[in-house]
C-alpha cells in the first residue's frame, strides 16, 4: 500500500528550486536519503537547510521540482495520502514545540488519542513506555511544559515524535540550546534509538560534535545546491571555503580529533 520497494530512497529530492522573490535559495538541487541512515544537512546561515527540511515535511512548497517521501511525491498528491505519509514520520522541532496548554502526558498521548482506537489504559502504558525510552522520570508526566528545562522539553518532544512508531524522523537542531553534557547524552539517546528502532534520521545541525558523532552521511548545502553528499571522510576532502572553515577550522579540527574512532561508516 504505502510501502516502497527496498531500492528506492526514503526521501528523494529532484531538481528542486526555491526562490524568495528574486533571491534563489536552491538551484536545481538533488538529494537522496537512504533507508536506515542518519543524514545531516549542513550549511551556512541562509543556505536553506531549514527551508529544505520544511519542504521535505510539506510545510512549504518549492517553486519547482519535486520531493518524494516513501516514494510518494508530496506535491500534487491527494491530501489523504499526504496525511498518511505524515503519520509515518516524526518531527523534533528546534524548541520542542510541545503544546504549552497540555501536560507532558497529554502531549505524548495526543497523537495516540487522535487515532481513536486505543483505550485510555493502553495510552497510559504507552506514554509511560515512551517516557522511559527517552529517560524521563514518570513523575514529570503531569507537569506542564513550561515547568521543564530545555533538555527535558527536547526529550519529551522526541517521545512525542516517536509515539506513532515512525520510520523516519526529522531533527531540527537537536542539540541547540543544550549544555555540552546534556547534548552529549541526547546524542547518545538518538544513536541508541536509531539502533533499536531502525529509524531513518534526517537532521539539521550546526553542532559539529553532534554531526560527527551521529551522521552516516553528510550533505553540505552551499552555492544553492548540495555541494557534497557522503561520509565525513569524503566531505572533508572537498576543497571549498565553507567545508574548510566548518570542518577544518580550529573548532572543527578539535571536534574531529576528539572523536577519531567514532566516525561511523555507512
Amino acid at each position: 500500500m504505502l510501502t516502497a520497494p527496498a531500492n528506492t530512497p526514503i526521501i528523494e529530492v529532484e531538481g528542486l528550486w526555491t526562490q524568495f522573490g528574486s533571491h534563489v535559495v536552491h538551484r536545481d538541487l538533488n538529494l537522496r536519503v537512504e533507508y536506515g541512515e542518519i543524514m545531516s544537512l549542513v550549511g551556512g546561515s541562509g543556505s536553506g537547510k531549514t527551508t529544505l527540511m520544511r519542504q521535505m515535511l510539506g510545510l512549504e512548497t518549492p517553486a519547482q521540482g519535486g520531493i518524494k517521501v516513501f516514494g510518494i511525491p508530496l506535491q500534487n498528491t491527494p491530501r489523504e495520502l499526504v496525511h498518511r505519509i505524515r503519520r509515518r514520520w516524526g518531527v523534533l522541532f528546534q524548541e520542542g514545540a510541545l503544546y504549552s496548554a497540555l501536560t507532558v502526558f497529554d502531549n505524548i498521548a495526543l497523537p495516540l488519542r487522535e487515532l481513536r482506537v486505543f483505550d485510555e489504559d493502553y495510552i497510559h502504558d504507552m506514554v509511560m513506555l515512551k517516557l522511559d525510552m527517552v529517560d524521563i522520570e514518570r513523575r514529570h508526566a503531569w507537569k506542564s511544559p513550561s515547568d521543564l528545562s530545555g533538555g527535558m522539553v527536547k526529550r519529551i518532544a522526541l517521545a512525542r515524535a516517536l509515539v506513532l512508531e515512525p520510520e523516519l524522523i526529522f531533527l531540527d537542531e537537536p542539540t541547540a540550546g543544550l549544555d555540552p553534557d546534556r547534548s552529549e547524552s541526547f546524542v547518545n539517546l538518538i544513536r541508541e534509538l536509531h539502533k533499536k528502532l531502525g529509524l531513518t534520521v534526517v537532521m539539521v545541525s550546526h553542532d559539529l560534535d553532534t554531526i560527527v558523532s551521529l551522521s552516516h552521511r553528510i550533505a553540505v548545502l552551499a552555492e544553492q545546491r548540495v555541494l557534497v553528499h557522503g561520509p565525513l571522510a569524503d566531505v572533508v576532502k572537498v576543497e571549498h571555503p565553507f567545508v574548510r572553515n566548518f570542518f577544518l577550522g580550529e573548532r572543527g579540527l578539535r571536534a574531529l580529533s576528539a572523536l577519531p574512532t567514532e566516525v561511523p561508516q555507512s
Partner: protein, 382 residues
C-alpha cells in the same frame, strides 16, 4: 547500512491470533503487529488477545510475527497481564521490546482526586484576587515614584512613546467609536420617540438624549470600546515583551519599564479617552438628532440649539472627567495583566481575556461611584 527488517520482501500478513483446539497446545500469533496494521483493528486484536489469554494455558508462539513495534508489543504485553508467560517463543530481534516493557513494569499513576480540591481552589481564587489588588497597587506606586524621578528632568521623559500611543489609541480609534456612537444614538432616539409621542412630550427627547449620552452612555460606551481595542493590545504587547525577555533587557539597561512602557500608555489613554468621549458623544447626539427629525419632526438645528438649556454644562465636564479616570484605569489594568503573563502561549490568551474583562468591570464600577458621588450635580428638574 542494511535496510531494517521491517522492509523484508515477504508480503505483509494481517495480524492474527490462532488458538489451538486443545487449550494446552497454546496460542500462535502471526502477521504484522505494528501500528500500520493495528491502527484500524486494535480493539478487535485486543479482544482476541484477551480471549486467548484467559482460555489458554499453554505456550505462546510469536515466532510467526512478521513485524513488531511498541504499539503491538504493548498490546500483547497487556494481554499477558504485564508479565511474561511461562513459555514464549520469540524471534530474537523482538526480544528487546518485551525486555523494555518488563523493565518498566511499575508506573506512577495520575494524582488521585482530593475532595479538598474545591476548597483549596476557592482559597486560591481569593488569594489570587488579593494578589492582583496588591500587584495593581505596587504598579501604581512604582509608576508614580518613577514618574516623580523622571519629572526632575522632564526632557528625558518618554514623550515620543506618549505621542505614538496617543496616535494608536486615539486617532486610529476614531472610526470605530464614531460608527458605534452614531448607531447607538439612532437606536436610543428611536426607542424614546415612541414613548414620548404617546405622552405628547416630544421636546423632551433633547433632555433624554442630552443627559443620557453626555453623562453616561458616551463615556461608558467609549471606555468599553477602548478597553476591547487598546487594552487588549497593551496586554498582548507587554506579554510578548515579557515572553521574549525584552522587559528584562530594559531593566538591565537601567531603563525602568514603568517609565518607558506603563507611563506612556497611562498618559496617552488619559489624554485620548476624554477626547474620544467628546467625539463619540457628539456623533451619538448627531445620530439621535437625525433620528428625532424623522420620528418627531424636531429639526437637527432645533435639537442643537435646545441642548444647552436642557443639559447644564457641568455634565460635559463630568463626562470628560470620567474619561480621564477611565482611560488611566484601562491602561493600568492592561499593563498589570500584561506584566504578569507567563512565558507560554496559553497564558498570553488568558491574560488578554482577563485584562479586557477586568478593565470593563472596573470602568463600570468607577462609573457607579461617579454616579453616586455626583447624583445631585448637573440634573435640572423641569
Amino acid at each position: 547500512m542494511s535496510p531494517p527488517s521491517t522492509l523484508a520482501a515477504a508480503p505483509v500478513q494481517e495480524p492474527e491470533v490462532r488458538l489451538a483446539s486443545n487449550p494446552a497446545a497454546g496460542v500462535t500469533l502471526s502477521g504484522a503487529w505494528d501500528i500500520r496494521s493495528l491502527q484500524h483493528r486494535a480493539r478487535f486484536m485486543q479482544a482476541s488477545l484477551k480471549v486467548a489469554a484467559t482460555t489458554v494455558d499453554g505456550p505462546w508462539d510469536l515466532s510467526g510475527v512478521q513485524r513488531l513495534d511498541h504499539i503491538g508489543a504493548l498490546l500483547i504485553w497487556r494481554a499477558w497481564g504485564k508479565k511474561r508467560p511461562a513459555e514464549v517463543s520469540l524471534q530474537p530481534e523482538h526480544e528487546a521490546f518485551f525486555e523494555q516493557l518488563a523493565r518498566n513494569a511499575e508506573g506512577v499513576d495520575a494524582p488521585a482526586y482530593d475532595p479538598a480540591t474545591l476548597l483549596r481552589k476557592l482559597g486560591t481564587y481569593l488569594l489570587v484576587f488579593l494578589e492582583h489588588l496588591t500587584g495593581m497597587l505596587v504598579l501604581v506606586g512604582q509608576t508614580a515614584i518613577d514618574t516623580a524621578r523622571m519629572l526632575r528632568r522632564p526632557t528625558l521623559g518618554p514623550w515620543r512613546e506618549v505621542s505614538a500611543s496617543v496616535f494608536r489609541t486615539g486617532a486610529q480609534a476614531l472610526g470605530i467609536t464614531a460608527g458605534v456612537g452614531f448607531l447607538i444614538g439612532v437606536v436610543l432616539s428611536y426607542l424614546s420617540a415612541e414613548q414620548l409621542k404617546a405622552f405628547g412630550a416630544n421636546a423632551f427627547i433633547i433632555n433624554i438624549l442630552g443627559i443620557g449620552v453626555i453623562r453616561e452612555l458616551g463615556p461608558v460606551l467609549c471606555a468599553v470600546l477602548v478597553a476591547g481595542r487598546s487594552g487588549s493590545a497593551i496586554t498582548a504587547q507587554l506579554g510578548v515583551m515579557r515572553v521574549t525577555e525584552e522587559l528584562d533587557a530594559l531593566s538591565v539597561m537601567g531603563i525602568p519599564y514603568t517609565v518607558r512602557l506603563v507611563l506612556p500608555k497611562v498618559l496617552a489613554l488619559a489624554i485620548t479617552m476624554p477626547l474620544l468621549i467628546l467625539w463619540t458623544t457628539s456623533i451619538a447626539l448627531l445620530g439621535g438628532a437625525m433620528a428625532a427629525q424623522v420620528t418627531l419632526d424636531i429639526s437637527v438645528m432645533q435639537f442643537i440649539t435646545g441642548l444647552p438649556a436642557a443639559v447644564p454644562g457641568v455634565n460635559l465636564v463630568l463626562g470628560i472627567g470620567k474619561g480621564v479616570v477611565f482611560g488611566a484605569l484601562i491602561a493600568l489594568v492592561a499593563c498589570h495583566f500584561g506584566l504578569r503573563i507567563q512565558p507560554n502561549t496559553e497564558s498570553l490568551g488568558i491574560g488578554t481575556t482577563n485584562s479586557v474583562v477586568t478593565s470593563i468591570t472596573s470602568v463600570i464600577i468607577a462609573d457607579a461611584i461617579f454616579a453616586i458621588m455626583f447624583n445631585d450635580v448637573g440634573i435640572v428638574l423641569m
